[in-house]
């Protein structure tokens, strides 16, 4: 019995690197943020414990609430576009063609482009004076200027995100579709199912798993979006496209309000966690009915 003990303890050494990495990359920074969020920091030696004051202040801050509502609107908009569009694109990809790998590579390209480059591409693409999109729309007789009109800025932002991320949903859905055995389609066909019924009763139930992952990924990612709108609109015109992360960056880096920014971060983090948990538990609970 006792001869096994040293071996068992040695196994902890194997886990140690992971523990260290997680500690330095996640736990310690998170705890630092929590620590900042309850203090008023004037400089490194002068700090006061203020309790939940920054939390109260953040939650009552109209700019926070506006940014939060904009954020929710943004995430819901891109989800309602990207999920159906992604499925539709995935259904259009041939499954056993020589073209399939090529199509998948082309489809994955937006995902491989660095985020600030995506922002830059669209910033130029949509410019009404020299951008292909902006000039074309204006040439059609529609006044379009995303730097001055909030609605145009929103549409451009949503279009950019749809362009950037629909591929992810499409690739996930495609993987789900290829795993459906042919007899399921054939049986439905002989049952006389039309295309909608085929989708509703054969494909959709088997896409559930990957679609839950797709919605979760897109929900979390879109809630944290920073780089692309920062490059594209800088949050403007005015504050029209200032989403949560950008508001946070302004507070933390721009105004150096570390305490309020830390409280904001914790709330932000909890919101993402809460949304994902609510979504996940609601679909999983429905599954168990």
């Amino acid at each position: 019995m006792s001869s096994f003990r040293p071996q068992n303890n040695r196994a902890w050494l194997g886990v140690l690197p992971v523990v260290l990495i997680v500690a330095f990359s996640a736990v310690i920074p998170l705890m630092t943020v929590v620590n900042y969020s309850v203090q008023d920091i004037l400089d490194f030696n002068t700090r006061f414990f203020v309790g939940l004051q920054w939390y109260e202040q953040t939650l009552n801050d109209p700019r926070f609430i506006e940014a939060f509502l904009r954020q929710v609107a943004f995430s819901l908009t891109i989800l309602t576009i990207q999920i159906p569009l992604g499925i539709w694109v995935a259904k259009g990809i041939p499954q056993n063609s020589r073209m399939t790998p090529l199509i998948l590579v082309v489809l994955a390209m937006p995902l491989l482009i660095p985020w600030n480059v995506v922002g830059t591409i669209w910033q130029i693409f949509a410019r009404p004076d020299i951008g292909l999109l902006g000039v074309t729309i204006n040439a059609l007789g529609i006044t379009y200027n995303y730097t001055s009109d909030p609605l145009h800025a929103w549409i451009t932002l949503v279009m950019m995100d749809v362009w950037h991320w629909t591929s992810l949903v499409a690739l996930l859905a495609f993987a789900g579709l290829t795993s459906i055995p042919q007899p399921f389609y054939q049986a439905a066909e002989l049952d006389g199912a039309n295309r909608w019924q085929m989708f509703r009763y054969v494909e959709l139930p088997r896409l559930r798993g990957v679609l839950i992952i797709a919605v979760l990924l897109r929900l979390m990612d879109s809630f944290m979006i920073y780089t692309e709108p920062f490059v594209l609109t800088g949050g403007g015109p005015g504050n029209a496209t200032t989403l949560l992360s950008q508001h946070l960056a302004t507070m933390a880096v721009g105004q150096f309000d570390l305490g309020p920014a830390a409280a904001f971060s914790v709330i932000y983090f909890l919101f993402i966690l809460l949304f994902c948990w609510l979504f996940y538990s609601s679909v999983v609970a429905r599954n168990e009915d």
Partner: protein, 320 residues
Amino acid sequence: MLELVGAHLQTESQAEFDHQFAPGQITVVLGANQSGKTNLCRLVAGQNSRARGQVLLDGIDLKTVDPRKRPVSMVYQAFVNYPNLTVAQNIASPLLARRGQGMMDKKTVAARVDELAHKLQIHSLLSRLPHELSGGQQQRLAIARALAKQAPVLLLDEPLVNLDFKLREALEIELRELLRETNTIVIYTSSDPRDAFTLGDEVLLLAAGEKLQAGAPLDVYLRPQSLAAMQLMADPGVNKFERDSRICALRPEHLRTVTDTGIDMTFDMQVSAFETNGSESFVHGEVEGAQWVMRCDGMLRISPGQHLKIGASASDVVQF
């Protein structure tokens, strides 16, 4: 009457054949893997496969009929049901999908579902989802779905291979009763000759897309036209030997130890393996340079390595 004209089941072979399936009859299509059984089903069902050929139902070319409206239903090897519909909804699915075409009202559908669920003994499971059923129940459901359509042609593509042995035998007997009642043209594919005897009114032997022989199972068993046909109808296999430069074959069940009566030819067997389940035994060994197998009733005291004198009645020898 269902007619296949110029059926070409496999791209690798040139073989084409004609065959007629009669209403109220179960035709067991017997063939090894890749012999074209599934392609035959798909050809009849009108679903994409490499098979070509004309399919005539009562003289009407089915090619002109959209697969969605084909008078054909099919049960697959995999348990194919709609995962998010209950058992009752699943059975009703082929009826409901057609309801738009003015086929059935709700009451008739409910009655039909109830009747089929009783026939297939899944009436206590009507509100369950397919994933809550056992494999055997899932396949019962798939069969009920196929029957619900009341199509004049029913295809069963190795429906029982994914079930365990006992369940298979039980369902097979039930299926026979169920299918005999109707005036349906039933095509049942299998690789097990026993299915031909338990289910088939007729057997159609396929090898590499080619029709080897067709007829009543017992006729085909007694009078095989080729060694391949005899091989397909034999379990576990046939024993080949040569006499006067003609190929001859004996079935495992026709071999006996020499102590038995009614023997007019003998062979020397070098026993290589022996298996028994108590009620019957299989002796594997080498005879005249070929691998043979003998099937006997009960247990025998035989061990591998031993020499055995075996014999058969000359009337059981099939010559080709």
